[in-house]
C-alpha cells in the first residue's frame, strides 16, 4: 500500500530534508520518495502544518505485564503507545516477577519482529527491584535488556549502586536511576511546601531528590560508568546534573508533564495529580524548561504509569502514584513548544534515547525503513473512553479536550492512522 504524506515539516537532524516541507511517499514499510511532486498513492494524508520525525522512543514506559495486567498489558500498552506516537518503548521492570532473568526478557521481546511498536526491556538492577542484591546483568544484557534500572524505585543502597555502576562497565551498560531518598520520602504524598502544609499531607521535599543526585554523581565520579538520572523534578538537582555533565558520563530525563504542572493542582485532593517525583513549584518548572532548552535534559519520557480505578479512586494517601501519559505526551510537547523549539523537543524523544542505548537510529531519507511519527500540533481532540487505548484512565486530562496529537505512526511495515 502506497501512502503519501503531503507537505509535513520534516524534523530529523540526520536527514538531508531536516526542517523542510516535503511530500513523503511510503510503500511497504519503506520511504520510497521524498520531494515536491504529488506522487500517486492509495492513501493521501494532508499533513501541512504537521511535524514528521523518526518514530518516538519512550525511555521508560511502565507496563506492569507480567503481574498487574489489569492495569495495563503489553497489548493495551502497545496500542496506547502507537496511538501516542511511539514506535519503540523501553519498558520498566516494575513487573511481577521483575524483569530479572532472560525468561522475562524473552517474554517482552517476543513480538518485536512483527509488531508496530517494538519493546526494549529495561532489566532490574536488583532482584525484585528491592535494591539489595544484584541481578545477573551480563546474562540479561545478552538476552536483550537495553539498560538497567529499578524503574519507579531508586537503587537506594549506596554500595549496591556503586557495584552496579562498576559491574555494568564490562559491556558499557547504562544504569538508569530514579533519584529519591526513601527515608525522607517515607509516607510522602506530594511535594513539601505551603500546599502540602495546608492540605495536611506528608511532604516529599526537594532535598530527598537533591541529596541522592549529589551522592550518585559522586559515586559516578569514583566508579566510572554511565549513569542516566530519570524523572528529575527539582531545580537544584538539575543544576547538579548540569555541572556534573562537564566531567562525568551522566545524562538525564524528565517526564513530558513535569514542567507543565505544579503542586497547587492538588488543592482538592485529585489523585490524578499524585505522581512521583511529585509536582513541584514554579521555580522548578522554570528550571526544567531552561534545562530542556540548554540541553541539560537529554531525554523526554512519557512518564506513563497506568493505574486501575481501584488504585486511584480512593482516599488520597491510599492512592497509588502515576499518570497514564502515552497518548497525551504529544499534547504535553505542544504545550512545551511555547518555550522550546520543535527540533529540540523532538530530538529528545527520538534520537537522544536511541543514542543512549546504542540502538540503531532511523533516518528520514529515500530508501530508508519507515520508522516515523506524524504529529499534528493543532489537532483538538477529546481524551476519553473512545479515544483511549490504555486500560487505565488515571490522567488529569481524561475527559478533556486537548490540543496536539500524534496522528500517524509507521514501523516494521505496519502503521496506525488517526486521520480523515
Amino acid at each position: 500500500m502506497k501512502i503519501l504524506l503531503q507537505s509535513p515539516q520534516i524534523i530529523d537532524p540526520n536527514s538531508p530534508y531536516h526542517l523542510k516541507e516535503k511530500n513523503v511517499l511510503i510503500n511497504n514499510g519503506r520511504i520510497v520518495e521524498i520531494g515536491d511532486k504529488n506522487y500517486s498513492a492509495d492513501k493521501v494524508i494532508k499533513a501541512e502544518g504537521m511535524k514528521l520525525s523518526i518514530g518516538w522512543f519512550d525511555l521508560g514506559t511502565s507496563i506492569p505485564d507480567p503481574g498487574h495486567e489489569y492495569k495495563e498489558d503489553l497489548d493495551s500498552g502497545m496500542r496506547a503507545a502507537a496511538a501516542g506516537g511511539f514506535t519503540q518503548i523501553a519498558v520498566l521492570p516494575n513487573t511481577s516477577p521483575a524483569i530479572q532473568t532472560k525468561n522475562e526478557v524473552s517474554y517482552l521481546i517476543k513480538g518485536n519482529d512483527t509488531n508496530l511498536v517494538k519493546i526494549h526491556p529495561l532489566a532490574s538492577v536488583t532482584k525484585n527491584n528491592k535494591g539489595e542484591e544484584l541481578t545477573e546483568m551480563i546474562d540479561l544484557h545478552e538476552a536483550g535488556a537495553v539498560a538497567f534500572t529499578d524503574g519507579l524505585k531508586p537503587v537506594w543502597h549506596t554500595d549496591i549502586f556503586l557495584k552496579s555502576l562498576q559491574y555494568l562497565q564490562k559491556f558499557d551498560g547504562l544504569l538508569i536511576d530514579h533519584p529519591e531518598d526513601i527515608w525522607l520520602n517515607l509516607f510522602g504524598q506530594m511535594h513539601e511546601g505551603i500546599n502540602s502544609t495546608m492540605l495536611g499531607l506528608k511532604g516529599m521535599p526537594r532535598i530527598a531528590e537533591d541529596i541522592v543526585v549529589n551522592k550518585n554523581l559522586e559515586l559516578l565520579g569514583y566508579a566510572g560508568g554511565r549513569l542516566h538520572i530519570t524523572r528529575l523534578s527539582s531545580a537544584k538537582a538539575i543544576d547538579m546534573v548540569r555541572s556534573g555533565k562537564k566531567k562525568l558520563n551522566v545524562t538525564c530525563s524528565v517526564t513530558a508533564y513535569q514542567a507543565l504542572l505544579d503542586d497547587s493542582l492538588l488543592a482538592d485532593f485529585d489523585t490524578n495529580y499524585k505522581v512521583n517525583p511529585p509536582l513541584r513549584e514554579k521555580a522548578d518548572q522554570d528550571a526544567l524548561i531552561k534545562a530542556l532548552k540548554d540541553g541539560t535534559i537529554d531525554v523526554i519520557i512519557s512518564g506513563h504509569v497506568p493505574q486501575d480505578e481501584e488504585s486511584k479512586s480512593l482516599e488520597f494517601d491510599l492512592a497509588d502514584f502515576g499518570i497514564t501519559n502515552l497518548q497525551t505526551t504529544a499534547a504535553n510537547l505542544v504545550s512545551l513548544s511555547k518555550w522550546v523549539d520543535w527540533d529540540v523537543l523532538l530530538e529528545k524523544i527520538t534520537v537522544a534515547p536511541r543514542r543512549l542505548l546504542n540502538l540503531e537510529i532511523p533516518k528520514i531519507d529515500i530508501d530508508e525503513k519507515a520508522n516515523l511519527t506524524l504529529l499534528d500540533p493543532d489537532r483538538v481532540w477529546k481524551f476519553d473512553e473512545r479515544s483511549n487505548f490504555s486500560k487505565a484512565k488515571n490522567s488529569p486530562w481524561f475527559g478533556q479536550e486537548i490540543v496536539g496529537k500524534a496522528v500517524a505512526v509507521f514501523n516494521n511495515g505496519k502503521h496506525y492512522f488517526d486521520v480523515a
Binding site: 517515607l186 509516607f187 504524598q189 513539601e192 511546601g193 505551603i194 502540602s196 502544609t197 495546608m198 492540605l199 495536611g200 499531607l201 506528608k202 511532604g203 521535599p205 482538592d268 485532593f269 481501584e310 479512586s313 480512593l314 482516599e315 488520597f316 494517601d317 491510599l318
Partner: protein
Amino acid sequence: MSKLSQKHLLGIKDISREDIELIFETADNFKEVINRPIKKVPSLRDVTIANVFFENSTRTRLSFELAQKRLSADVINFSASNSSVKKGETLLDTVNNILAMKVDMIVMRHASPGAPHYLAKHINANIVNAGDGTHEHPTQALLDAFSIREKLGSLVGKKIAIIGDILHSRVALSNIFALQKLGAKVMVCGPPTLLPKFIKHLGVEVELDVQKALQWCDVANVLRIQLERQQIKYFPSLREYSLYYGITKKTLDNLKKQIVIMHPGPINRGVELSSDAADSEHSIILDQVENGVAVRMAVLYLLAGRTS
C-alpha cells in the same frame, strides 16, 4: 435568614468570615436553648444524619450525637476500623450503602486527609468533616474560636499560641485558618520536629520555647500529643516532652499575667498539661466541651437549612 456559602463543612479554609460569624450567632441561640430545662428543639425533625467514624473518637462523636438529638434529628452511628478500608469495602461503597438508607447528612471522621473532599465529589448529601487525618477538624476550630470569643469578647488582635504537635494536628491547621479569618494573631510552638517546615508561610509566628510562647499569648491552646498519628519517631520520649514542653500550674503562676488555657481533649494529664494546670482557673476546657454541642447544632442546622 442568611445561609452558609457552602453545602458542606469540609474545612475552615473553604468558608468565609461571614460563614463563621453566622455559625457563632446561631450557636449563641443554641447555647441558650441547651441551658433551658427542656433542651430540645424540633428544627431537624425528619432529617436523618449518619455519624460515620472510621477512626476512634469518643467526645467528638458524642458531641455531634447530642447536637443532633437536641435538634430532633434521627441519628445512626457507624464505626469501622480504617485498616480494613483497602482490603474490604471502599469508602465510597460504605457511604453509598448508608445513603441508600435515605440519609440526608453525613458526619465523617477519617484517617486520610481529604477523605471528606473525595466523598463530596461523589455523593449528594451534606458532609460535615469531623476530622480528616492530619488535615482539618473544622468544628473543633469553630468551638475553640467560639469559646475564646465568649471569654475575651472579640478575637480581633488577640494573641493565640497553639502549643504541641503541630505537624500531626488537624486542630492546629483548622485553628490557624479560623483564628486568622477572625482577626487574631497566631503563634505555633513545639519541638522543631513537630512543626511543619513551611508553617511560617501561613502567616503564623513560630516559637520553639514554651515559656516565651506563654509570655506572648493571651490564650494557649495546648494540643494533645498524637502518638497514634506519628508513623515515625519525632521526639525521644514523653518524659523529655513533658519536662520541656509540658505546662504546669507553676509555669502559669510565674507568668506576669493571666492567660487562658484550652485543650481539645482528651488530655494526656502529666504530659502536655499537668492536672493542676488543666483544672486551674486559667482553664476553659470544659466550656469548650459545652460550646462544642452548641456550635455543632449551629453547623448542622445551617447546613440542613441550606438544602431545604
